[in-house]
Each structure stands twice: as C-alpha cells, then as structure tokens.
C-alpha cells in the first residue's frame, strides 16, 4: 500500500453524511486529513441561532470520531459577491440561474481551494458524487458518479483542469446507500442526518417569499401565445420554462390537458402558457450557450459530437456542438427536439462516462425561430 501520510487532504465538511464519509474514507486510506467547515451564508435568526452552528457542531462530532483536526472558514463575502449577486442578476433578467454551479466554480473549488492550499493541502476533497481519473500524463478526468441517480457532474461542469488536478471525490465510486451504510457502521454522528434540500441559502423556506425580499415582484398577465388572457402571474422571475405547478389554471378546452409555462416576454411583462406537456413552444432544435468551459486542456475541434444534459438528472441526449473561434460560445444542436430548454441553466457535455465541460444556456431556437423564453 502506498504511504499517504505525507499527502495532506483538506476536506470540505458541511456537517452532512456525504462529507463525513468522505473524511472517514480518506483517513482510513492513511491521508493527512484536515476538515474545514465553510460558512457562506448568514442565516442567524431573531434568537441568534443559525443552522451553521448546528452543522458545525456535527462537523466537530464527526471529526473527533474520525480523529482529524477541524476548523472553520467564513466565505460570506465571497459567496455574496460571486454567487448571490449572480443569482439575483439572473432573476432580474427573468432567467433561471444555477447557484450550485456557480458555488462550485467560485467558492468550493476556488476560494476554498485557495484557502486549503494556504494551509498546506496537496488536495481538497468533497462529498460530491463524481469520479476523478488521472491519466499517466497527470491529466485529471472527471467521470460521472457511479450512482447515476446522484451523479453531480452536472453541477461541476465549470471546473477547469487546474482545479480538478487538485481535487478528490472519494464518493464517486459508490452509491448513496453504501455511503449511509459506511456512516452507520462507523457510528458517525451524521449517519442518520437527512440530506439538505433546495438551494443552500434558502433551505426549507418558501422560494417566492425569499426572492421577494430582494427583488420587487411585478405581477402581470398570463396568456396564451394567441393572446387569450388566462389569468395573472406574480412576477416572471418566479416561473421556469416548462413549469406546470402553481399556475392556478386547470385543464379546460377541447383537450382538457394541463397548462405549462411556454414563454416569457420581459418587455410586455407577459407569461405565456400553453396546454399539454408536448406543447410545440416547449421544443427546441438548438440552443446558444456562453461561458463554455472544458475540464481538460486538450485541443478540441470547433465542431464535435457528444451527448449532453441541459438539466440535472436527465438522460443524455445526442448533440452537435459548434463553437466560435475562441471556444467561449457555442451553438448546440439536438439530434431530436429537446423539451423545456431553460435560459440560465447549464448545458453539460459528456463523452461516455467523462464530463467534458459545459456552458450556460442563453437562448433556445426552433429551427430559425428564437423561442421567447426570456
């Protein structure tokens, strides 16, 4: 067995079961493991209590069980500047941002990675469900997590080779059940803790209420593409392309099918709705994406074929990617028309198991017609 004791791995510990097991596995492999808890958001309530303190207490419990030092670091300012500001800006444009992608790119694998290097890390590790495979030449390739249901490469698509070369994802080889089992067998304090849900800074709170604290809502008409008013909307930012719930309109008409969000018109402040899951305005033949980024530094032709996901936990679809000259923007053509492309979300490219990278969706098209999604 290789001697890992001289290799320092700083584990981002959230107080959840995944990062607890990450730290445990690395410690068992003999690494010099250091746990660090990140506080990115101040959610102190009127009684001065915040969930971060409870989570930190769990980190302390687990770290002491495993026998590793643990510390905490505050990235509230960085998170606000890089993630939350972006999040609000996107909503202002009536797009649907993905703060998890941004958090990984700017906080967990930038601010935190830098911090870890400062305290002598050779690698950082997190409890993400993804795998890293290292080529003989040192290239780190990011592969999907073995647990298809938990695979998180979609959120990690913006990581660069420089970032990935210093990252470990020990959970990528296992499924969630195994992780829970390891935690239970080791009697870790977090073994039975329930998974966090939703966007971290909103938590269990009502999303609309949260957003309303930061952005003024502008209610307007909800109508069909033909201009028939079907009701009122609470503000375009609250709706996502393809959304069914929360429209407040039932079936009706000849088909009696449910209604879906099929478009947004920012200038007129109109939310377009259409009947039926397969409404034609929900289907795109191609999209435009920017912020294109790749996980390796390999040369790449301007045009290539691969598979892609344009939302988390979706089955891959076949695509042709046509990039601009400097490979920062791309037109992504779908082999089959794709439903509910959402501006602001990520489009992520795969070659088999490998996550190649991805970009941010800006616009969707049905042949030559741009769909009115923002």
């Amino acid at each position: 067995m290789t001697d890992n004791s001289k290799t320092r791995v700083v584990v981002g510990m959230s107080g959840g079961v995944d990062s607890s097991v990450t730290a445990l596995l690395l410690k068992e492999q003999g690494y010099d493991v250091v746990g660090v808890f990140m506080k990115n958001w101040d959610d102190t309530d009127e009684n001065g209590v915040c969930t971060a303190t409870e989570d930190y207490n769990d980190v302390a419990l687990v770290a002491n069980q495993i026998g590793i030092p643990y510390y905490s670091v505050n990235f509230e300012k960085e998170y606000w500047d890089k993630v939350f500001t972006y999040f609000l800006e996107e909503y202002k444009k009536d797009r649907t941002p993905n703060p998890d992608v941004m958090c990984n790119k700017e906080i967990k694998f930038k601010a935190f990675l830098d911090y870890a290097m400062d305290i002598g890390a050779d690698y950082v590790a997190t409890g993400h469900y993804a795998r890293i495979e290292r080529d003989a030449d040192g290239t780190a390739r990011m592969l999907r997590g073995v647990d298809n249901n938990k695979d998180q490469t979609y959120f990690l698509n913006q990581l660069s080779q420089e970032q990935l070369s210093r990252v470990m994802f020990p959970l990528g080889e296992m499924d969630k059940k195994e992780v829970r089992k390891i935690a239970e067998e080791a009697n870790l304090a977090t073994a039975k803790k329930k998974d966090s849900t939703g966007i971290c800074f909103i938590g269990e709170r009502d999303f609309k209420q949260f957003l309303m604290n930061y952005l003024p809502a502008q209610p307007g008409d909800m109508m069909t593409i033909d201009g028939e008013v079907k009701g009122r909307h609470d503000g375009l930012m609250y709706y996502t392309i393809g959304q069914r719930k929360g429209l407040g309109i039932g079936g009706g008409g000849i088909s009696n099918e449910p209604w879906f969000v099929v478009g947004k018109d920012m200038k007129k402040n109109v939310l377009y709705v259409g009947q039926g899951y397969h409404h034609e305005k929900l289907y795109s033949t191609h999209l435009n994406a920017s912020e294109i980024s790749f996980t390796t530094n390999e040369d790449r032709p301007d045009t290539f074929r691969c598979t892609a996901k344009f939302r988390y936990r979706q089955t891959d679809v076949g695509v042709t990617v046509r990039m601009n000259e400097d490979h920062t923007e791309a037109v992504v053509e779908f082999d089959e028309p794709a439903r509910a492309i959402t501006p602001g979300q990520a489009i992520v490219f795969y070659d088999g198991e490998e996550c190649l990278g991805g970009g941010t969706i800006d616009a969707a098209y049905n042949h030559s017609e741009e769909l009115q999604y923002v």
Binding site: V34, Y71, S72, N74
Partner: protein
Amino acid sequence: MKDAIYLDHASTSPMHPDAAKEMAEALTGQFGNASSIHRFGRSSRGFLDQARQVFAKSIHADPSEIIITSGGTESDNTAILKTAEAREHLGKHIITTSVEHHAVIRPMEYLESKGFEVTYLPVDQKGRIQPEDVKEALRPDTILVSVMYGNNEVGTVMPIEEIGAIIKESDAPAYFHTDAVQAYGLLDIDVQRDNIDLLSVSAHKINGPKGLGFLYVKDGIYLPSFMLGGEQEMKRRAGTENIPGIIGFKKAAEIMMAERQSRRERYRELAKKMLEELDTLGVETEMNGDPEHSLGHILNLHIKGVKSEQLIIHLDLAGIAVSAGSACTAGNIDPSHVLTAMYGAEHAAISESLRISFGMGNTVEDAVQTAQAIKNAADRLKKE
C-alpha cells in the same frame, strides 16, 4: 523538537502536578460534606478553612472576605449583578472599560437592558485607561467601577492603585471591582494598598483545576447571594463545596505565590527571546500592548500581512497552540473587541494578530521553535 507546544496559557493552563496529586487523593479520600457535624464533615471543613486562608493571604485579605465560587465568570457576575441589586437605591450608574472580559461585558449589557447606565471608558493604543477618566466619569449616582487588573488579550496592566485611590477619595457611593483573573499569579495583588472592594479570581489560569475561583468581598460589604440554597460560605454562596477541587486550587495558589516572581521573569525572557528570533528571521511584527505595564506572560503580536485565522491553523497543524486576535468559530468571525478599542475597527492588526501566552513548562526552545514555525507559515501565507 517537541511534537506539541502549548502557548495559550492565558486561555487555560495545565494543572500543576503537585496540585493534581493532592486533588486526586482528595477525590477519593476527602468526600465529607463540609457542613456535616460528623468527623467526615469536620475533616472537609478543615481543608476548606485552610484553603480560604491561603486565598486570603494571596491578596492581603482576611479569610472572611473570600467567597469560593465556580470560577471567574461567576465571581464577575456576582460582583456586578449583585452590587447593582444591593445598591440600586443609591444610583444606577456604573463605570467600566471597553476592554473587559465578556464575563464583565455581558452582565453590564444585561444591566443596561434593565435601566442602568454604563460608561465604557476608552483605552489608549496600548490598551490602558487613564485614571483621570475614571475621576471624570464618577457621579453622585455611580454605584460601581469595574476595571480589570490586567487584560487577557494584550496583557496590559491597568492603573489599579490610582483608580482605587480616586474612588476612595470621591463622594460617589461606588464599589471598586477588579477582574484579576489574568493578573492573579503574576502580580502582587494587595486589596488594601489598591483600595479594592471586590476582586475576581479563577483557579484554572494558575495551574489549578477548572470550575473554581473566588470572589473577594471587602469586610462590611453585603451582597445578596447569587446562588440560593444552603448556608455555605457564610450564606453568601449556596451549594456543597467542591472540596477536592478547592484542595487542588489551594496547592496551585501556594506554588504560585512561591514562584510568582521567578515565573514572571522567565516569561518575560521567553517573550524577549521570541521577539529576537522573529526579528532575526525577518518577520515583520508590531507588539500590541504596553511593554511598561505588562502582565509579562502575554505576547500579542501583529504579524504584518498575515491573516491570523490561517496562521493559527498552520501553527496548530505544526503542533503549536496559540490563539488569534479574532476568532472564527463555526464560520462566524468575531473580531477582538480589545484590539478594536485600541485601534479602531479598520486597523489591520485586528485580523493579523496572534496571542502567544507563556506558562508552566515553556522553554527557550519552545520560543525558538515557535518563531521558526511562524516564519514558515508567514512565508507561505504572504506568498499570495
């Protein structure tokens, strides 16, 4: 090279082996309740009385003026909250400083919420208050002045004797309380010379056990008991006495009194050595505190350009335990109110200061090894 070096004695200190030994023996051997009539009780009572004599002597007080408590926090809380309660009819004004320990600040804030007025005296850049400021702040309705003896973060010693004299001369109905938790064990504290009415002490800062301390209450002052119950401590503090702990505390106090002078000199030497080493290694530092009025065991250094939060982690991973000016616990950054009071909130020292505090067992080699570790960490952290 040692695997671990402890330089955080101002936070807490290891028990002296002799004190630990006596305490360990008492844990099984001396279990009687000091209030009991029988021989087991009388035996415990004997140890309690002896300890009280030692504590009294250590500050030039009378044994009847010593109330044994659960530590510095209880002593401070009792002195402040119970003075306020007992003397509310004479006035609702209290004077303290902006650099007190939280065991003083929080009770003050509590009293403010209950309608008392608290004047927080400012400190100079060395962390010291001016005696004249106390004089000016005193009013006919001032019932308490609470000024710490020596500061726990920067080690600055306050002009206690002058303040005591000022209060004595004034017409204000003010008691003089001092939190001597950090100074006890390093300075010759004389409650008569300094005209002190109330004084707080903790055992664990002088190589005694945790969870014990005492409050000196000058003869003639009556404070209502904080803990209500039995008639222990002449009805001034209810609760069965922790006899084994008190035995350990007594031993630690005896050792402290015998060694105080030599300890302080040694800590000063270690601090000097550390500064010389850092200087030789080219680490740019500035001392926070007052070299002329210093407890001696605390060396608070502004390590220029190096974030203390990361520096203490580096040092910890290298086996060296120190503390920082600003703490980050559970990700919450808590800037030092002491450094803030000295320099203002924007000063770089607030996020770049290290508190090194010497104590029992520290050697010149520790100082040398730590200086080198600071140099290594600073180089790595400044590279950015």
